[in-house]
């Protein structure tokens, strides 16, 4: 019997919770904070139906700590927060990177610094997601632009976190988090889920922090015959602290970086729109990308060769893709709700291959299509065309 989707009106935050459940998340530890709270509310409601558990911790520090603990027992686990809570989670985020523990951390961005603008969107945590925890490490971060993507990227975040045994961050924002859109859940539920692999070697031969061809050894659940050590200290492949052995220190540090960085072509996804013959690219992500699409339509209707590149993965940064784009276009317009965080990164990545034009807004208002259009006009005029 043929069936058709029943469209459903879903909020961005709710879609993240639904995506997490589909991805197999069975533990949520969190602390309420605007504008992410609906994720906690949904997870507290959903998890008890499917054998999972929700615990409301005393703060964000303990929330991510509990998530790491739960993940170590073999449960896919997540937390969600916003600016101030994201800052509080940084130390343990580094622990998860160091101890190679999969988890998903959702940051529904709001204006900052500090308490800032609790109910308004911003994209001010792009760099904090990359470098917020101390020390050399790699991280994966995804940026949804639609409610449907809140679902699919949450599934992808879990998949990547299991595949690379690493924390994965979702950088949503107050606008996407709180808005509702129609989605086709039956279609979204087709998103493929990667299960956590189990170790194939015996407990005696198990070296949880060894490097393998596919970058990581499966994480055995703790509290089993795999009695291994987990530590945030620099450690060898069995988990023993090795803070005096220069060779191990250097190797561990480099492996933590390369296990993700070397696979960035596999990890990093960008969406190209109208880029085939583009001479100008708009590089926009998250909620701002929604306005950027309209700017591209405006330009194309007038015959301007403008396209759009939307990073779905922002970390690792799509360096190689952006270099190719920069070889093709003369200018890249980067609108963002922060002051040049990704524009700088773009500049560093493309090494002068094209002109980078940054435009910014930090008043908690989504950059409007008209604002991007006026930047485009300037760019087109500077190249001598009428705009």
């Amino acid at each position: 019997m043929s069936e058709k989707s029943i469209p459903r009106l879903v909020q961005g935050n709710e879609a993240i919770a639904l995506g997490a459940i589909h991805a197999g998340c069975r533990f949520y530890g969190g602390y309420p904070i605007t504008p992410s709270t609906e994720i906690a509310e949904e997870m507290s409601r959903l998890l008890p139906h499917i054998g999972g558990s929700y615990v409301q911790m005393e703060d964000e520090i303990s929330s991510i700590a509990a998530v790491i603990g739960a993940s170590l027992t073999g449960q896919k686990s997540m937390t969600a927060t916003s600016g101030p809570g994201f800052s509080l989670m940084q130390e343990n985020l580094g622990y998860a990177a160091m101890a190679e523990i999969p988890l998903v951390l959702v940051n529904v961005q709001r204006g900052g610094p500090s308490t800032g603008l609790p109910t308004d969107p911003a994209q001010g945590d792009m760099m904090q997601a990359r470098w917020g925890t101390h020390g050399e490490h790699s991280i994966i971060a995804l940026v949804p632009s639609t409610v449907a993507e809140c679902f699919t990227l949450t599934v992808e975040a879990f998949n990547l976190s299991e595949r690379y045994r690493t924390p994965v961050i979702i950088l949503s924002d107050a606008l996407i988090g709180h808005m509702r859109e129609n989605i086709r859940l039956d279609q979204l539920l087709k998103a493929k889920v990667i299960e956590r692999p189990q170790p194939w070697m015996s407990p005696e031969d198990y070296r949880p922090f060894a490097s393998t061809e596919r970058t990581v050894v499966p994480l055995a659940p703790i509290g089993t015959e795999y009695r291994y050590r987990v530590t945030g200290l620099v450690h060898d492949m069995s988990g023993s602290p090795k803070t005096g052995d220069k060779r191990t220190i250097e190797d561990t540090g480099r492996r933590l970086r390369s296990k993700i960085y070397d696979y960035r072509e596999e990890i990093t996804r960008v969406e190209m729109t109208a880029m085939d013959d583009a001479e100008v690219a708009i590089f926009a992500y998250g909620s701002v990308a929604r306005s950027a699409y309209e700017a591209v339509m405006w330009a194309r209707e007038r015959g301007h060769k403008v396209g759009m590149v939307r990073p779905i993965t922002i970390w690792p940064f799509p360096t190689l893709q952006m270099r190719e784009v920069a070889d093709q276009v003369h200018s890249i317009v980067v609108p963002e709700m922060n002051i040049k965080q990704i524009a700088w990164e773009t500049r560093a990545a493309i090494e002068g291959r094209a002109n980078v034009v940054s435009m910014n807004r930090i008043d908690g208002t989504l950059i409007a299509p008209g604002e991007i259009i006026s930047s485009l006009r300037d760019v087109l005029r500077a190249k001598g065309g009428a705009a």
Binding site: E3, E58, G69, N182, I222, G223, R229, P241, E294, A368
Partner: protein, 497 residues
């Protein structure tokens, strides 16, 4: 009191390859560790199911020396990690080792909350009254007057009595032992491990390197002697007056009272029967329908407000249900095959002041999600009218509730119509609160979304059961009122803005 197990009994609990420890000769931590493995041995629990979680500092290294699953966490957070471990797998025996800094300074918050929740983990605090790893600074349990590298003239801060602290937080088991009496410490830890709820053991220990040398206790022996002299059993202490106990170390079980353990409570009270047991229903609900099913919605092409992309703004005051109305309107539009985006203003603005809900509908994909000018505006309060009327679109419709909003000034191009949302809700639907749903009905007519069955279904899913009928009535009356107002306006009614 039980016999201490022999060293050969215990060897298997150590990771031989990780020894010797990094601890100074004469440090009390080795005795704490031996007491812990003895207690685990004596309790007969499956070592595979033991997880040792520790914090940072000299005590933090203990987890790695023992041959169990071990997690050496971040400073102060061991109990928080342990909470996640226990929640995710309640079958595990989780023992958390902390120093006094871990437990009562940086991690004090986690200590009181773990005690309050009564989560079934054992917190074992090796209290040596100093920060040993960093070279001997004062801690929250350093006695007044004691010297440290950051209190060279003597500590002026009153220390915590850790047992009082966790008792006040609701711990169901509290006990203290001292390394000077290892057999008793072992049996105390064993009782704690076997306890079902949150169990707390303070193991009073000594740091000869940092604390002793600064406080005229030159050798580990001096420190142990001093500890022995200061120790008194809980049974004996009970016979003394508080001033007679003074600063003595009162050992033994201080308190135990059965209270439901947290993960057990969660199982009993929060856990729902699994979806599979409920006849295979999916947690995601019904996501598809049979194509052959009759279409539940019809979009009337005779919509009064139309366009490629229609922006609707409903303005009112917090508590008037503007968001519910907007969400339902979006769902009605969605059922008619439109793409929709619904947004709202949150926060302080939504609590008392003017609040608004916006809906965009379009047959094409919707990118920019904001309503800049409203093709349809519904005003349910004066505040909202004052704030939003200027954003009525050039050809737009404005509906206002004359019971709440003064007649707005005419605006060129805009059609401004009064609709008695409140009166209709009160008199025809019998629920004044349903004025928002009357507005939904009226808006639906203007937008050509006049499928009654669909409106009924949406209301049925979004409002509390006992008011569904009244709300459906309100919506239908809103539709009637709008149709009447429209025919009136076509006849050239004076209501036309």
């Amino acid at each position: 009191m039980s016999r201490q197990p022999s060293t050969s009994d215990l060897l298997k609990y150590y990771r031989q390859e990780s020894l010797p420890t990094i601890w100074c000769p004469g440090c009390g931590l080795g005795i704490v560790m031996r007491s812990l493995v003895s207690a685990i041995h004596e309790s007969g629990i499956d070592p595979d199911k033991v997880v040792i979680v520790s914090g940072i500092g000299c005590s933090g290294r203990m987890s790695g020396y023992m041959n169990f699953s071990s997690v050496h966490t971040t400073h102060g957070r061991a109990l928080a990690f342990a909470t996640g471990i226990k929640m995710a797998n309640p079958d595990l025996h989780v023992v958390v080792i902390m120093g006094d800094g871990d437990a009562s300074a940086i991690g004090g918050n986690h200590l009181i909350h773990a005690a309050r929740r009564n989560i079934g983990v054992t917190a074992l605090v090796a209290n040596n009254s100093t920060y040993g790893m960093t070279g001997g600074q004062y801690s929250p349990t350093t006695p007044v007057g004691a010297k440290s590298t950051t209190s060279v003239k003597g500590n002026i801060e009153t220390g915590f009595d850790l047992i009082d602290l966790v008792s006040a937080a609701g711990a169901s088991f509290t006990a203290r032992g001292a390394v000077a009496y290892p057999t008793q410490l072992t049996s105390t830890i064993q009782k704690a491990i076997e306890w079902e709820g949150f169990s707390f053991v303070e193991a009073v220990t000594h740091c000869p390197t940092c604390f002793g040398r600064k406080n005229s206790l030159k050798t580990p022996g001096d420190m142990l002697r001093a500890q022995k002299e200061a120790t008194i059993s809980f049974a004996k202490a009970k016979l003394l007056k508080p001033h007679e106990i003074g600063g003595r170390i009162v050992t033994g079980v201080h308190f135990m009272e059965k209270r439901p353990e947290y993960t057990t409570l969660y199982e009993e009270q929060i856990r729902e029967p699994s979806m599979a047991e409920q006849g295979g229903a999916s947690i995601f609900g019904q996501t598809t329908q049979d194509v052959a099913a009759p279409a539940v919605q019809e979009y009337s092409e005779s919509a009064t407000v139309h366009g490629d992309r229609i922006g609707i703004r409903i303005g009112g005051t917090g508590g008037q249900g503007v968001i519910t109305a907007g969400v339902m309107l979006a769902e009605v539009a969605m059922a008619a095959g439109f793409n929709v985006v619904q947004g709202q203003v949150y926060g302080p603005e939504a609590r008392g002041g003017a609040s608004r809900c916006e809906v965009l509908m379009s047959k094409a994909p919707i990118f920019y999600p904001e309503v800049t000018t409203a093709d349809l505006m519904v005003l349910l309060s004066q505040q909202a009218a004052d704030k939003y009327i200027a954003s009525a679109g050039p050809m737009g419709y404005v509906l206002y509730d004359p019971a709440k909003v003064k007649t707005p000034q005419a605006l060129p191009g805009r059609t401004i119509l009064p609709v008695d949302f409140t009166r209709i809700a009160k008199e025809l639907a019998g629920v004044e609160m349903a004025a928002n749903v009357v507005a939904l009905g009226a808006s639906a007519v203007l937008l050509g979304l006049t499928d009654e069955a669909c409106i009924r279904k949406v209301i049925g899913q979004r409002v509390p059961k006992k008011v569904v009928d009244a709300n459906i009535e309100a919506a239908l009356e809103g539709m009637n009122a709008m149709l009447a107002a429209l025919s009136g306006s076509f006849e050239g009614s004076a209501d036309l803005g």
